[in-house]
Symmetry: C2
Subunit: 168 residues, 2 copies
DNA sequence: GCTGAAATCACACATTA
DNA sequence: TAATGTGTGATTTCAGC
């Protein structure tokens, strides 16, 4: 099979896994209508192709906050002063290296970057801002919002689902 | 133990799991310096407390794009017309129900919501916009950016790591 | 798709603080 | 008393056929 071709089974597996990767292989196989061995082979192929990057546990921030004190999620738009490709890459390197930067998007139009930060508290945000959002890092303008409530967080790519209508 | 108290072992387990949940329990136990049985018991407790919400596979969008055609990630700021609590809740319900809405944050100051959308293409974005970003949904203003590059995506909460210095 | 070897998990019990 | 660690049987996973 072509190394970059995904058939319907691959899509079913990916869709199942990106919503719930804790299920045992035989259950996954059952849901996708193939034998456990086939499911396993396909999943391993998807992993070796790098399409399945890794498997993580999602924590519920609200519950964590109960035990640790409230964390803080910030959404930040960054506009750079000089916007050549090398300047964009330079800022990106700085941003990506910061542990509190959860997500980093290079965007257009509008600002140059949008970051999602997860910090423990406001002092931690300030510390990052002073490190990253400065003239020194070539930053011209910053617009930051703080999350009052994370109503949805579902790190799943939308996939075509040719089987959806048929199975319904 | 207090049902909401997290000791250092819990934090180590959570930190390990939210970066890599694919490892076998005995390896996890080893990394955290406890017996497999203890690690398993703790993990199950964290799950039953709802702190570990679920386990998912993260897919690499670039690799997917090779096989499926390029997906589109949009970051959208929404300001509502009427901003009472019931109006905010109403829009939130609509947004969360949409499959292409990956993330939904209620924010302050600035706009009322920030959404992260993952759609297959521009027509799909348009379809959503016409459904969700309308007067009918009480939306006054929309500012949308499109992601040119997702440089980082790491859905992990920052945790205090009292062991980090000690182990270094 | 099936089967045997290997690994994993669940549970009972001894141990420690 | 409450949490940890060890050991054994049952289940599941994995690789070769």
């Amino acid at each position: 099979m072509n190394e970059n071709f995904l058939d319907e089974l691959d899509l079913r597996l990916l869709d199942a896994l990106q919503h719930d990767a804790s299920q045992a292989n035989h259950r996954l196989a059952e849901r996708c209508g193939v034998s456990p061995a086939t499911a396993l082979r396909r999943v391993r192929r998807l992993q070796s192709l790098g399409i399945v990057e890794r498997q993580v546990a999602l924590l519920q921030p609200d519950k964590l906050a109960l035990a640790l004190g409230h964390g803080l999620t910030a959404l930040v738009e960054i506009s750079l002063d000089q916007q050549g490709d090398e300047h964009l890459a330079a800022f990106e390197r700085l941003a990506v290296a910061e542990a509190v930067v959860q997500q980093c998007y290079r965007v257009s139009p509008g600002p140059d970057f949008v970051l999602v930060l997860a910090v423990t508290d406001m002092p931690a945000y300030l510390a990052l801002a002073q490190r990253l959002f400065t003239q020194h890092a070539n930053v011209r303008n910053v617009r930051a919002f703080f999350s009052v409530k994370r109503a949805k967080f579902l790190p799943a790519q939308p996939l075509p689902r040719p089987w959806a209508e048929r199975d319904a």
